[in-house]
Symmetry: C2
């Protein structure tokens, strides 16, 4: 099944849909309508119908709705949760260590196979069974194991340099946790996880709420 | 300084601006123009000029540009990095533990003061010096310490229930790591950190790239 027609926005909604559909399945439901999902998840009805139609092989029945099991299987396939993607992580500091130790990535098909750091006191040690290598070995190891995903957890002022090394080593998709803009060739994806921006949003909301009182 | 006129989008760009401005400061620069920052960060020039004008007390000089030091101080203030926000975390599983152990939140003004979990084997223990309490004590502890931020790291099907308890306990802003839509009253902010969606994006990009070869 090709996913050329599935938009980025649809892909981002998949985890939310999946959670809801699995809940319905546990309740022994087999068919669901787009409007009822839209209402439950506070999403636009037309949008949900479009998303479901794009991800349903049978395209749903006008009167009866979409088959829950089919949607779950197809959505998991579109989200890539069925096939395992191996990744390397660069920057075994506090955040890097946390991600290396996190067991939750497995259910989403991500497997961090090795980590890299510039600090010679860290290289050669293991975190949650993953060996930390020196930065100089990124190219060799990512090529040897044909790794296509790189996770960047270095300080912001080191991130572009690390990004360049990853791209030169054949990495095609970068998960960037550094609060900095990364410049990459057109065929490389940078997915930013800007936790600093999230914290700024929380802080802004609180400040306005307290000021508003 | 009021921040009524600063948009959410501007707030989200602050960490990226700050990183760049601090780099320029290290290089002993004191003045910067919006177009040069826009070019460097691959952002829209008009947008950067608008952002800087909103966050500069002197509003910049048409010929000379904006004072870097002033921008840094004002941006840190807008992002709330100067004042500490205390938070509680609910769900001391794998991700919760990782966030409790993460030292990097301090520089963004976030201090997680206590954690909560339903698992009685965890309650009473400590992670990185933070005590884990039973869920039943959320209300008492958040009121006692006047906590306004709640971090949700429970499984998706528990998240709404936990969210309701947090809102009833006076929490005003929720940082939600569960891949699920949360329903809250209008004055409560939910900031979603959907790592599952990020992973789906990475996987989609790789699949398309490999299929495209």
């Amino acid at each position: 099944m090709s996913d050329r027609n599935i938009s980025k926005q649809t892909i981002r909604r998949i985890p939310i849909y999946l959670q809801h559909l699995k809940d319905l399945k546990i309740k022994n439901m087999t068919i669901i309508s787009a409007p009822s999902v839209a209402a439950e998840l506070k999403l636009n009805e037309v949008q949900v119908r479009k998303d479901f139609a794009a991800m349903s092989t049978t395209h749903g029945k006008p009167k009866t709705g979409f088959i829950i099991n089919e949607l779950i299987i197809n959505m998991e396939s579109f989200a890539g949760y069925n096939n395992t993607n191996e990744a390397i992580l660069v920057g075994a500091g506090s955040l890097g260590k946390a991600l290396l130790s996190y067991k939750g990535f497995e259910i989403y098909g991500l497997d961090i196979v090795a980590a890299f750091d510039i600090d010679s006191r860290l290289t050669g040690t293991e975190i949650s069974g993953k060996v930390i290598f020196p930065l100089t070995e990124i190219n060799e190891i990512s090529n040897k194991y044909n790794i296509k995903i790189g996770i960047i957890t270095v300080p912001a002022n080191e991130a572009q340099k690390v990004c360049d090394v990853l791209v030169c080593s054949g990495i095609m998709a970068i998960w960037n946790f550094a609060p900095v803009h990364l410049t990459v060739p057109a065929d490389i994806l940078v997915q930013n996880e800007n936790m600093a921006a999230s914290l700024a949003m929380l802080s802004k909301h609180l400040r306005e709420h307290i000021e508003g009182k």
